[in-house]
Amino acid sequence: MNPIVSRRASLVTGAVGLTALVGIAATVWLGLWVTPPAVGMGNLVRLLYIHPPVAWVCYLAFGVATAASLAYLWPRTRSRSWDRLAGASAELGVVFAALTLVTGSIWGYPTWGTWWTWDARLTTTALLAVLYVGYLAIRKVPGSPHVVARRSAVVAVLAFVDVPVNYLSVYWWKTLHQTGTVLDPSKQLKVHGIMAWTLLLGFVSFTLAYAWILVQRYRVAALEDHRDSDGLTSAIAERIAEGAGSPTRGTPSAAPAPTVSTSPAAASLGGNGAGSLARGVSSELDGASSVVAK
């Protein structure tokens, strides 16, 4: 991990975030005040400028998490970066899945007369959220970084099976949730220009918001790894320095301090000085942590 983000990268990320913010603000303005009510659905159509985009981002986030997990599982592309990306994207996916369920429920009550029904689309969406909450929980189960990353990746790939099931559920089963409408040519739907553009803007804006938050979340994960490896390095060095530097109680001060040379690098430094040994171990762990951080 590059410890400090370059100014250029920061500018690009900032531009994406700002564009997302402006886009979402414009979507709200167009959705609430500019677009006309729909025939049949009335003003409730306004909720559809945010509900489908949020649901799309949910799919996208889980898709990215799965692709990153596959990249981690593939030996030739294995890297902690993929694991971090998978974790970050899955967490975002869970947030967007929850928002999909809540906004859909708010739309469903005045439209269907119920907040919730065990409809195939709704149920598989809830299942999707629960599966990835489980994935996030598995990431917290202790273990070596590689083991945790590998088992998490397997779970992410298995959980993704629910995404196509969720998408196709409205075609496979008789559901209260409608099938695709705007892009379905058989329905010959006539969408008012401003309505179509607002919907498109919603999709683009929420996708950009996802990209911006993903970068932030990935960076948090990388910084946490950096902090943990940094803390481990200094803790081990301190313990070795303590053991090697101060003679134990009852040991004559002239006798060499007992040291446990656990690494060829530390042994090759020679001398029993606490400083040199600590430096040797520290530099070795630095190398290891930089490999881990890649």
Partner: protein, 61 residues
Amino acid sequence: MNGYIEAGYVVALVGVGGYGAAVAARRRKLEKVLGLTRSHAAVEASGRKDRRPGRRSEGLR
């Protein structure tokens, strides 16, 4: 319009905005704690001692 539409928008905006803001704040806090901000790097590069409160004396590796 009715309250449902506004509620839906509020939920979506607060959800995305709140989560995004929380993540960005966590990132800034971690960068500050670890001394990994660009301003910290500039101090390191200049060779001056970083005397700002809360900065790590050992600096960047």
